[in-house]
């Protein structure tokens, strides 16, 4: 029996979302740009989904631009804003690769904003860098995908706006888990993703204030008010809308449920493996996320051993898995690279159960210790 504990990487599709998508895969196949009846049907479905996604983040439907995912939304924001506003780019050292690697690849001058030992953006460092002047765009995430540490976004926004710069917020991990209202974040642009909230992969959105100049990333065809070319992916957009509505309606219940399981896991971990280090444990975190390390053990090996017992966890970001490099997030927090290499991220979802957590806790200590005992057969140990 497999236990899925990697919801920050992606989430299983909600059956209710699939139901909403099916008509748009089966019978409703029009191109939303067409003026005939099948086209208008697709357009109406997309408009409805736009309202649902807008409601999830407290935005106006006209502020939602659908993209192929969170990564595209992050790319569009950073490159699109920078193209219209000359100046430096600042981004926190713990951003997702979609922001980090984009910033590094851009030709504009950029610098990272430091974080504290709990993985939160260091506002004093931000102040110093803004004071140096010539900052055009700043990027900070709502909550970190590895540690779950919630970032002081409104404090960042006040400072960025006072400096006359633009703020992009990667809200991919916050959507559906936290109360994340676009107008309250103070962000100029906000990226969200469907597949992190039990919606389909391949769709996301950039929420933006249309008074801010932004250059499109995808040209051609005039879709999405000219901001994103390409035939709209109706079925996925409808799925995103349905997932957004469910996430908003069930947000508090999901948060309570996963927080309870997470706290149970953390307490059990402390009891079973007292030497385990919990990251960002002293600050507000996403309710579903627990990242820890067992000193002396390699996270990748631990992950693979847990996988053999049917537990799907991550060592950090799925995108960097297999690289063998310690997490850039943990290194930025000042974690010893040796300890960082032992990191395991458990990210829970609405369908996880107490029984699954208890089973995980019953297996974890022996699996962790087996890592120093080569040759031990996990099947035997599993019992």
């Amino acid at each position: 029996m497999n236990v899925y504990l990697d919801h920050n990487a992606t989430t299983p599709l909600d059956e209710r979302v699939l139901e909403a998508m099916l008509p748009h895969l089966r019978n409703q196949f029009g191109n939303a740009a067409s003026r005939h009846a099948p086209g208008r049907t697709a357009r109406a479905a997309i408009d409805a989904a736009r309202e649902q996604v807008a409601a999830l983040v407290g935005a106006h439907p006209g502020q939602v631009v659908f993209t192929a995912g969170g990564t595209e939304a992050d790319n569009m924001a950073l490159k699109g804003l920078s193209a219209c506003r000359p100046g430096r780019l600042l981004y926190s050292a713990i951003e997702h690769p979609a922001v980090l690697e984009t910033a590094e690849a851009m030709s504009v001058a950029s610098a990272t904003i430091a974080v504290d030992g709990q993985g939160r953006v260091d506002l004093a460092d931000l102040d110093r860098q803004l004071a140096a002047g010539d900052v055009a765009v700043v990027a900070v995430m709502v909550a970190n995908n590895e540690t779950g540490a919630i970032q002081p976004v409104t404090e960042v926004a006040d400072r960025v706006r006072a400096a006359g710069a633009l703020l992009h917020v990667d809200g991919v991990q916050g959507a559906g888990k936290l109360v994340m209202r676009y107008p309250d974040t103070g962000a100029h642009t906000l990226a969200v993703s469907s597949h992190k909230i039990h919606g389909p992969k391949g769709v996301g959105a950039l929420v933006l204030d249309k008074r801010v100049d932004i250059r499109p990333l995808l040209h051609g065809g005039g879709h999405e008010s000219g901001l994103r070319g390409g035939t709209e992916n109706t079925a996925a957009i409808v799925g995103f809308g349905a997932a957004a509505e469910l996430a908003e309606a069930e947000r508090a219940a999901r948060a309570d449920h996963t927080a309870r399981l997470r706290d149970r896991l953390q307490a059990g971990l402390a009891a079973a493996l007292p030497e385990a280090v919990v990251f960002a444990g002293d600050v507000a975190r996403l309710p579903n996320t627990l990242q820890f390390a067992v000193p002396g053990f390699d996270g990748e090996s631990l992950l693979m051993a847990l996988d053999q017992f049917g537990f799907a966890v991550s060592s950090g970001s799925a995108c960097a898995s297999g690289s063998g490099e310690p997490s850039h997030v943990l290194l930025a927090m000042g974690v010893d690279p040796v300890v960082a290499r032992g990191a395991i991220r458990v990210s829970l979802g609405k369908d996880n159960t107490e029984e699954e957590i208890d089973r995980f806790l019953s297996v974890l200590p022996s699996v962790a210790r087996s890592q120093s005992m080569p040759g031990l057969n996990p099947a035997v140990m599993g019992g």
Binding site: N2, D6, T11, L18, A98, P216, G229, T231, N233, C319
Partner: protein, 397 residues
């Protein structure tokens, strides 16, 4: 469709084959994991994604690993054009394309032009074709990319890609082909035409929307840099969590197309010809695109003596409702006449009074006969109501 009607707009988007839907629903239910995750569910999703490459690559004579998954042909076109530009960094160069290309090619090129790149948009002849010699003559030492579509989305005109590829062979410019309308339906071999980059779509081939691919030649590799960043997926050229169900749907759509071709193409071409004969019998109906060079599923006609808007309205609200288009769905919101037809020398009024009828796998002979009768009746009725010696100039006002 929401009510009984006949769908003749397969070039805008085509119904998803039920067998593709089946694969997608199964993938949505079973392959939920992130294909880049290191655990077992992630690896199973990654295996499924890898297998889906095979039929898509086979459709263009490529190897599975030559493909980069994108969110559609528009993104593939943008990646090809912007990616070549990015590889040349801050040194703007020159690109060549046709004046009849899709907005997803013309759009990114216009954006490059605004940044100092030089863009040549070649004319086409009355049949919509570009002479390879014309193209060869436009080459410059700093030409970095030549982009020519396989099948025009409005007229169905097929360029002679083998001859164009031959004309480019001695030049280092990358050769990009937008094959969104033709791949999987018509033969295309990247080795025969010498293409370096090819854009592919799924939803024009009874696959899902929101997925496409860019073929990127490995040896010799074109100068191409990533346009989006973050995560390192797809040879570092296209980041983002792969949309497993979409990819599997595209794989199935291409596998089915291979099973059906070329018999399906012959059937569709015969239906298309039947539809053309029905309309041609009315008189003062002109076919756009040289008939011997048009893809099987497309029929583009200009109708004299009727107001274009009235004809389209009649098709939309008549019984049965006909889903047809004026040209590209992407330009559907604009009242301007087709730039593709104007580039072929059609006067603006005739270019505006055009109907694009596009057939697909699920178009039946009865559909074509019923639609042909209905369109003919609309044209005759409109001509009787408002006789016009020449096509309405008011259309383009």
């Amino acid at each position: 469709m929401s009510r009984a009607g006949i769908y003749l707009d397969n070039a805008a988007s085509s119904p998803v084959d039920p067998r593709v839907v089946e694969v997608m629903v199964d993938a949505l239910a079973r392959h939920g994991a992130n294909p880049t995750a290191a655990h077992d569910p992630g690896e199973r999703a990654a295996d499924a994604v890898a297998r889906a490459r095979e039929p898509v690559a086979a459709a263009i004579g490529a190897a599975p690993d030559d493909l980069i998954w994108t969110s559609g042909a528009s993104e593939a076109n943008n990646l090809a054009i912007q990616g070549v530009a990015a590889a040349f960094g801050r040194q703007p160069g020159h690109m060549i394309t046709l004046s009849t290309e899709h907005p997803a090619v013309l759009g990114p090129m216009a954006a490059l032009e605004a940044r100092g790149w030089s863009i040549t948009r070649l004319p086409v002849d009355a049949n919509g074709l570009c002479e390879p010699e014309t193209l060869a003559a436009a080459l410059r030492p700093d030409t970095r990319l030549v982009s020519v579509m396989q099948v025009n989305n409005e007229t169905g005109v097929c360029q002679d890609l083998a001859a164009i590829g031959e004309a480019l062979r001695a030049h280092p410019a990358a050769f990009h082909v937008d094959a969104a309308q033709g791949a999987g339906k018509l033969p295309l071999d990247v080795e025969v035409i010498g293409a370096d980059l090819v854009s592919l779509s799924a939803h024009k081939l009874h696959g899902p929307k929101g997925i496409g691919a860019l073929y990127v030649r490995r040896r010799p590799a074109p100068h191409l840099a990533a346009v989006w960043h973050g995560g390192g997926q797809e040879r570092g050229l296209r980041p983002g969590t792969p949309a497993t169900h979409q990819i599997l749907g595209m794989g199935k759509a291409y596998a089915l197309a291979a099973d059906h071709a070329p018999a399906e193409s012959r059937r569709i071409a015969a239906l298309r010809d039947r539809l053309w004969q029905r309309l041609a019998a009315l008189g003062d109906v002109v076919r756009n695109g040289g008939p011997d060079r048009v893809a099987p599923g497309l029929l583009n006609v200009s109708v004299g003596g009727v107001h274009a808007d009235a004809l389209h309205y009649a098709c939309a609200v008549g019984e049965p409702a006909l889903a047809v288009s004026r040209g590209s769905a992407c330009a559907a919101g604009s009242a301007a006449s087709s730039y593709v037809l104007r580039a072929m020398g059609r006067e603006p009024a005739l270019a505006a009074a055009s109907l694009r009828l596009s057939l697909g796998r699920f178009t039946s002979a009865a559909d074509v006969d019923t639609a042909g009768r209905a369109i003919a009746a609309h044209i005759e009725r409109l001509r009787a109501m408002a006789p016009m010696d020449t096509p309405a100039d008011a259309v383009v006002a």
